[in-house]
Amino acid sequence: MSALMKAAVSRSPASLASYLYRNIHVAASGATSKDASVTTNMTKAYTVIDHKHDALVIGAGGAGLRAAFGLVQEGFKTAVVTKLFPTRSHTVAAQGGINAALGNMEEDSWLWHMYDTVKGSDWLGDQDAIHYMTKEAPHAVIELDNYGMPFSRTPEGKIYQRAFGGQSLKFGKGGQAHRCCAVADRTGHSLLHTLYGQSLRYDCEYFIEYFALDLLMEDGVCKGCIAINLEDGTLHRFQAKNTILATGGTGRSYFSCTSAHTCTGDGTAMAARVGLQNEDMEFVQFHPTGIYGAGCLMTEGCRGEGGFLVNSKGERFMERYAPVAKDLASRDVVSRAMTVEIMEGRGCGPEKDHVHLQLHHLPPEQLKQRLPGISETAMIFAGVDVTKEPIPVLPTVHYNMGGTPTNFRGEVITHRGGADRVVAGLLAAGEASCASVHGANRLGANSLLDIVVFGRACALTVADTARPGDPQPPLAPTTGEASIANLDSIRYANGSISTADLRLRMQKCMQKNAAVFRQKSTLEEGQRQIHEIYKQIKDVKVSDRSLIWNSDLVETLELQNLLINSVQIVEGALAREESRGAHAREDFKTRRDEYDYSKPLEGQSKLPFEQHWRKHTLAETDPATGDTRLTYRPVIDRTLDAAECSTVPPVIRTY
């Protein structure tokens, strides 16, 4: 007894479970690898431990933690599986804030926020989800405040709200709105810290540094996931009546991105592997000036203070593309100009694949005073002294608007035979999902709002449709076997290409062919190359055979995930022959909607669904070959309640 007590006190609940299993043969519920009904020899070589919970959350960023906290508050026994310690999820990088129409700085209405978001999405966002998000925003923020998140306050004690791009009053006619609520410059961290702390006051079990391999599906119903414990190499099948995917974006598909190295599209790839569709993957948001190689952002303030971009000839090329605004033209104009310069051979560096941001013509005093962080960032990450040399920069991926499609309640859907159908047992929230609130382009400070509202929505939906302790039949012994086989083959992979090389090839292909500048010839080249690279995963070489803290193994599994996401991005971009939001085609420069909104609608006939592009792309990929099939789904224009909030009719988007 005392040995058991000692073990119980010194271990985390998860490692206690595996300790007990191995040493005391206490059978956890469900099948285990000692069960004779397990068929393959391979599975017998791995220790598999089963867990049963009411709900499972994969990913412990803002969306995952908000969902987990909501669930445990409602009494659901919840497991959270995360490959990182919760406060190290990429949400921590968010320094902006959360938009909500609280009206603390001026008179405000969520209807105006809804309008701004629909316009920002270039009318590709689903207006029912946008209605839901902007209406719930004030409640969600006040709830967070009540849970202890220390928002910055005004002198009267109300939550302080600041201005942010794209937010207006009175449907765009009332000037700049101030609706971004923040915690100084650490909103993301504060969100994670608060939610993690609060969730632990209830029955929430964290499985930290467990890498989720695949979703477990039986007869089209999601039953949970299978994951590997990186600390001891054991495999775990997490069974739950409801699973929430909150794994974040896939920035690492590209060579230059601002995302942490953890953003590898794990959830969207897991969904693809079980035959689900991913929506609007081609919509990727870029920021013009990220440091070449590193990806850290060089703020627009550099150009605002007089810095400018030059090509290999030393020419200030923005004067040609935007004679009036020059280097301060809008982000997408600058990004496209930079890419054109590179494509036409005037790029800098040995591979001629970036341009230079020049600041050394500015007086050093001005640099020091107005742009203090810039000099440091440039030296630390680029090895460049900004008073003497230019900084190598190129357009950098910042956010993925696409993801696993859901309805406004957070339930994952598929669209087949012209109808949306909910996938039983699976929900999704955050950057991994596509509700779609951001449509073709995301507004700043709407991303933190998205994760909080839809994390909360998933918890509310589960509370509506299930009860704590709902019975669950045991998992079939073979469920998850394919994942174990995949893990085994990757673990012993002994091909000729290292993971790092293959990953770099993919990232450079994406950066060159499917980045800011898109046209048929380069997208087709990108398509050809990405499929070739996809097949090369079979020839990958993993140098470390261990199951314990094996970074090589994990990064190769992540590369598998990145490849699925990359293929879906390229295929979606190639097929979409229009320019909308963040997806800009040189060969199809305008938006192609069902009506031509640049002219009066009278006398126009509505184009049939197949002939216009105001629709969502759905991509399904065969994980074995990379072959991808695209279908389309209509944009939802009707709001949740027309009396409360009317649909915003499409117009040409100008700012």
Binding site: H90, V92, R153
Partner: protein, 144 residues
């Protein structure tokens, strides 16, 4: 019976770790956002040095934001394998105790003073590493 005991200990441990929760309705800009106690990563747990280093490589490559990914992964590639046990523990405590990755970044680039418990030879080495005296563009190093 065993299960009940396990559950009791789990709750006991959880309660032990979550000590104080303050509900704030009159917070100010200066409020420390780490006021709510959350369980710390168990750095002191016994494990073979090799295993600890393998974990630290993983954790150096996978941080909350890009800046720390780059600084810590390049640092770990250069120095971690050569650390003795004491140095490894110092590094482990440094990257696994603070709740906010940004704090670690600000201490490394000397935007904020390093707290006493992390002000040691490892931190000094990190600060020197961040100065990038070789003036290279940082990229996450290959594993092998």
């Amino acid at each position: 019976m065993n299960y009940t005991i396990i559950k009791l200990f789990q709750s006991y441990n959880a309660l032990k770790n979550v000590q104080k929760v303050a509900f704030s309705s009159n917070t100010t800009n200066n409020m420390d956002t780490t006021y709510m106690e959350i369980p710390l990563y168990d750095v002191e747990k016994q494990q073979p040095l090799e295993k600890r280093k393998a974990r630290l490589h993983y954790q150096s490559r996978k941080r909350g934001m890009l800046e720390n990914d780059l600084l810590l992964s390049t640092f770990a590639k250069k120095y971690l394998n050569g650390f003795n046990e004491k140095q490894t523990m110092m590094y482990d405590r440094l990257i696994n105790s603070p709740s906010n990755d940004w704090d670690i970044f600000y201490w490394i680039v000397e935007k904020k003073p390093t707290p006493k418990e992390f002000d040691n030879e490892i931190m000094n080495l990190l600060k020197k590493h961040a100065k990038n005296e070789d003036k290279i563009a940082l990229r996450q190093p290959d594993l092998h």
